[in-house]
């Protein structure tokens, strides 16, 4: 029997696991995928929102503003990519300029600091590639960008170091409470008991909730398509550039990523299927056309990949972060944007509630820091030489575009929880994320995964399940 079971290994589950590992408790995280960060956490805008957008007095506003303030320290402690680059909301219409004042007022009411409005010329001075049609902009200096999957991996590794157990390929299908004890069952027949259960199942959090609570929820998946541009055009934006929301919709953002690419998106389309991450020509085209309104020199030829993510929208239109009607069952539900920004604050709060409920003592061995895998491409030549001296695998460059070495790839597989497929290696090391999109390095990385995990090459997958890359030997 465990003290605590967390369902879901996205940013919410992983951050809660880490915050709970400050306490002395037996904690298990169950994730249906083969790795952490395989759901919504891997495909979103990666913006650490300032908090101007959420409605005052909502949980979104509360956790967003609190979470945002935690990122500087957290990103140092857990060593994940984060930059406070600042955000801007662009206004294109003189008649709508007053709308920016409303946004500013709303932001201040939410507790966002440092907001100010600039005219079009000043905005272009700050962002030289902005369109001439920008007439004013709201500046949110506290806005930032983060690498969401690296953040989730950092949280997970640190939780693991501090004793949290991760079980993958564990889709929770049954949940009941008898005599004060929860029994959790997985699709593969595995069962485990616990005193407390935390529901962090993202898009599927409604289904987990509905297994045990009278109060039912329904998550509406809402898809957002993105295009990612090559680093060679990374200079096109330094701030995160939002468009002022209008009757026509929320607009499309153009933002740098923490690794220096430019990201354009997201669209918003309601879907029936929680696995439907199909991008469409129409949506991508629409997103690109809208992005040109902000930055007219964006060029389609510099797109290197496209992807989409699903928002876990609920009609209540706010986060559900609470101990549910069932004592000891905690819900994190409807965690759509700004879920990433809010995660650090949600995690501390939920962990606090659980610790109090179980009267947990502090974990005397808690280690607060985690070091990222050394990033060869970012080191000085002297440090590169040192690394190769220690381990010659750091002298074998596998991914040419992002300059990722065999040493980094091996490390990403050996860490706990480690990468088990091509996408897992990619999220942890960036191998395959560059301009050739894994054309050159796929065969090499497959060999390394096969070697490290002692698998036949045919069993190496792109991202688990039936995503095998090759079908056996040639004739």
């Amino acid at each position: 029997m465990k003290d605590i079971i967390i369902i879901g290994g996205g940013i919410i589950g992983c951050s809660i696991a880490r915050e709970l590992s400050r306490f002395s408790a037996d904690i298990l995280l169950l994730e249906k995928g083969n790795d952490v960060s395989v759901g919504t956490t891997k495909a979103n805008s990666g913006i650490v929102h300032g908090g101007h957008d959420a409605y005052p007095n909502s949980k979104k506003a509360y956790y967003n503003v609190k979470g945002n303030a935690m990122f500087d320290q957290l990103s140092k402690e857990l060593d994940f990519p984060f930059r406070r680059n600042g955000s801007m909301v662009l206004c294109f219409n003189e008649d709508l300029k007053c709308g920016l004042n409303d946004l500013l007022a709303r932001g201040e009411q939410n507790g966002v600091k440092g907001l100010y409005i600039v005219d079009g010329d000043k905005a272009r001075e700050m962002e030289p590639h902005l369109s001439k049609s920008v007439v004013a902009a709201l500046v949110i200096p506290s806005g930032g960008i983060v690498s969401p999957y690296e953040m989730a991996v950092a949280y997970a590794e640190n939780a693991c170091t501090n004793g949290v157990e991760f079980r993958f390929l564990s889709e929770v299908t049954g949940l009941k409470k008898e005599d004060g004890i929860f029994t959790v069952t997985c699709a593969d027949g595995y069962t485990e008991q616990a005193k407390v259960v935390v529901n962090a199942a993202g898009l599927f959090a409604d289904e987990i909730n509905n297994l045990i609570c009278e109060r039912k929820y329904q998550v509406q998946p809402r898809k957002g398509d993105y295009m990612l541009m090559d680093k060679s055009v990374g200079y096109l934006a330094d701030h995160t550039l939002f468009q002022q929301p209008t009757k026509m919709g929320k607009g499309i953002l153009v933002t740098p990523t923490t690794h220096g690419n430019i990201l354009v998106g997201p669209t918003a389309t309601d879907k029936l299927d929680k696995d439907d991450v199909n991008t469409t020509i129409e949506e991508l085209g629409e997103a690109f056309a809208k992005a040109l309104v902000s930055v007219p020199t964006l060029n389609k030829r510099t797109i290197i990949t496209q992807f989409s993510g699903l928002r876990a929208h609920i009609p209540e239109n706010d986060f559900v972060v609470e101990e549910s009607e069932v004592e000891g069952f905690y819900n994190c539900l409807g965690i759509e944007s700004p879920g990433l920004s809010a995660a650090p604050a949600i995690a501390v709060e939920v962990a606090g509630w659980v610790a109090e409920k179980l009267a947990l003592k502090a974990n005397a061995n808690f280690v607060a820091t985690r070091k990222a895998i050394p990033q060869f491409s970012h080191l000085s030549n002297i440090d590169r030489q040192k690394l190769i001296d220690q381990n010659p695998l750091y002298g074998n460059i596998v991914c040419r575009c992002e300059v990722v070495t065999e040493g980094e790839i091996v490390e990403s597989i050996r860490r706990k929880p480690g990468a088990v497929d091509l996408d897992g290696v990619k999220r942890r090391t960036r191998a395959g994320m560059g301009r050739c999109q894994a054309g050159f390095c796929t065969p090499r990385i497959m060999e390394i995964i096969a070697r490290e995990l002692n698998l036949p090459l045919e069993e190496v997958t792109k991202r688990g399940g039936a995503s095998q890359v090759v079908f056996g030997r040639t004739k």
Binding site: T280, T305, G395, S467, F471, T474
Partner: protein, 418 residues
């Protein structure tokens, strides 16, 4: 820091030929750096034959062709490193490379030849929508999996793009027992060699759909099908004529891009058209002592042309090392009326009047045309061609007298007379 006369980045056919030529011009202080485990470049995975008809007057496979040059390099005792990736080339010609054996090494070079080859345009580069499971490969990646690693990347494939690698992979996959259901080409013509269409598709009854494209990819974990639609004159897909083709693999042969990241770091000026460097007739870039040749300069379809171009680069690099002053004044060459680009891109305003070879590509299929070179409006050279196509590189040879005329002109134009 180690000092060397000539550092060659890339040990493919371009780098090997350049090294050999430099040696034969008397240079002994040469180092070839290759990031793969073997010399030979992309040829190592091109196990089909059709290489070397021009150079050796016989049909060789890719590895055989490469081996002839490797042997010549080894016989001459030219120094080389494999598993050695160059990560930086600075403006003052310091080459930084990394290998497990040598660690991180910096070399101050007198001259550098960039012979880094090219990479394939990925899916994102053409922005195909759909799911993102396994089973979408660039054709060259699939070729490596099949020919080098010995694994099958798919059982039922559709190939997008009729470039040479795509065509060759259609045949290769068929040989290995896979079913190639279609080759789909956006343009009304192929960007590959005609002989490859005949030998790789027609001989195996593989349908080739011109003016079609892939508009959607199905399948969550692994590809289960692709949706193919015809396109209109503006290349926009006609969606109500779209059709699903079931398959587990999509191979992309949608273009090659010169691998010029190092060149950019080193301040080399690049052409918008080819993605390769702007070079003069010595294959020298705007940076004194930095040369380019092979696929990094412009994408070739025949390796023989790579070898010839690269030998020239090797020779010229030695002349530079031996003190030949580079000429400050360049004469641009204007490509017009359907000529997309030519190499060299510009000529030196000097009195070195030697026979000269130009390589060029056209922008569309044209029939019964004349390739012509004009100096200040006067035709210096003309060559009649029954048909020219973007997939086949054109080559013209100018005599020393014709070169002299060009070098004395204010305005040079290479054009198509239709």
């Amino acid at each position: 820091m180690r000092k060397m006369n000539l550092v060659i980045v890339g040990g493919g056919p371009a780098g090997l030929a350049a090294a050999k030529a430099a040696y034969d011009c008397g240079e002994r202080d040469i180092l070839i750096l290759e990031r793969e485990a073997e010399l030979g470049g992309i040829l190592n995975q091109c196990i089909h034959n059709g290489f070397g008809l021009h150079t050796f007057k016989e049909e060789l496979t890719g590895p055989e062709y490469a081996q002839r040059y490797i042997d010549q390099v080894v016989e001459r005792g030219i120094e080389y490193r494999v598993n050695a990736t160059v990560i930086d080339v600075s403006k003052d010609k310091v080459v930084t490379y990394v290998s497990a054996v040598d660690g991180l090494t910096q070399i101050q070079a007198k001259a550098i030849i960039l012979a880094c080859g090219c990479r394939e345009r990925p899916r994102g580069g053409i922005n195909i929508a759909g799911m993102r499971g396994a089973g979408v490969f660039s054709a060259g990646t699939a070729q490596k999996l099949v020919n080098i690693d010995g694994y099958m990347p798919g059982k039922e494939c559709v190939i997008l793009g009729s470039g040479d690698i795509g065509l060759i992979m259609a045949r290769r996959m068929t040989f290995e027992g896979a079913k190639v259901k279609a080759v789909v080409e956006l343009m009304p013509y192929s960007s590959g060699l005609n002989r490859n269409i005949v030998q790789c598709l027609n001989d195996f009854d593989i349908p080739l759909y011109f003016s079609h494209t892939v508009v959607d990819i199905k399948g969550k974990d692994r590809v289960t099908g692709v949706v193919v639609a015809p396109v209109d004159e503006k290349l926009a897909p006609i969606m109500d004529k779209a059709e699903l083709i079931e398959c587990d693999t999509l191979l992309l042969s949608v273009g090659l891009l010169p691998e010029n990241e190092l060149a950019k770091q080193g301040g080399v000026e690049l052409s918008n058209v080819t993605g390769g460097a702007v070079v003069d007739e010595n294959m020298m870039t705007n940076i004194d002592g930095v040369f380019e040749c092979g696929n990094v300069l412009h994408v070739h379809d025949l390796v023989d042309f790579v070898s010839a171009e690269s030998e020239n680069a090797g020779k010229c690099a030695v002349a530079y090392i031996n003190g030949l002053e580079s000429c400050a004044e360049k004469i641009a060459i204007n490509c017009t009326n359907g000529v997309r680009y030519c190499v060299p891109t510009q000529l030196n305003r000097d009195d070195n009047y030697q026979p000269l070879n130009f390589k060029m590509r056209v922008a569309n299929v044209f029939k019964k045309v004349e390739l012509a070179v004009f100096a200040d409006g006067v035709k210096v050279f003309g060559k009649k061609r029954p048909v020219v196509a973007p997939g086949e590189m054109e080559s013209i040879n100018l005599t020393a007298e014709q070169v002299e005329t060009l070098k004395k002109a204010q305005h040079i134009e290479i054009t198509l007379i239709k």
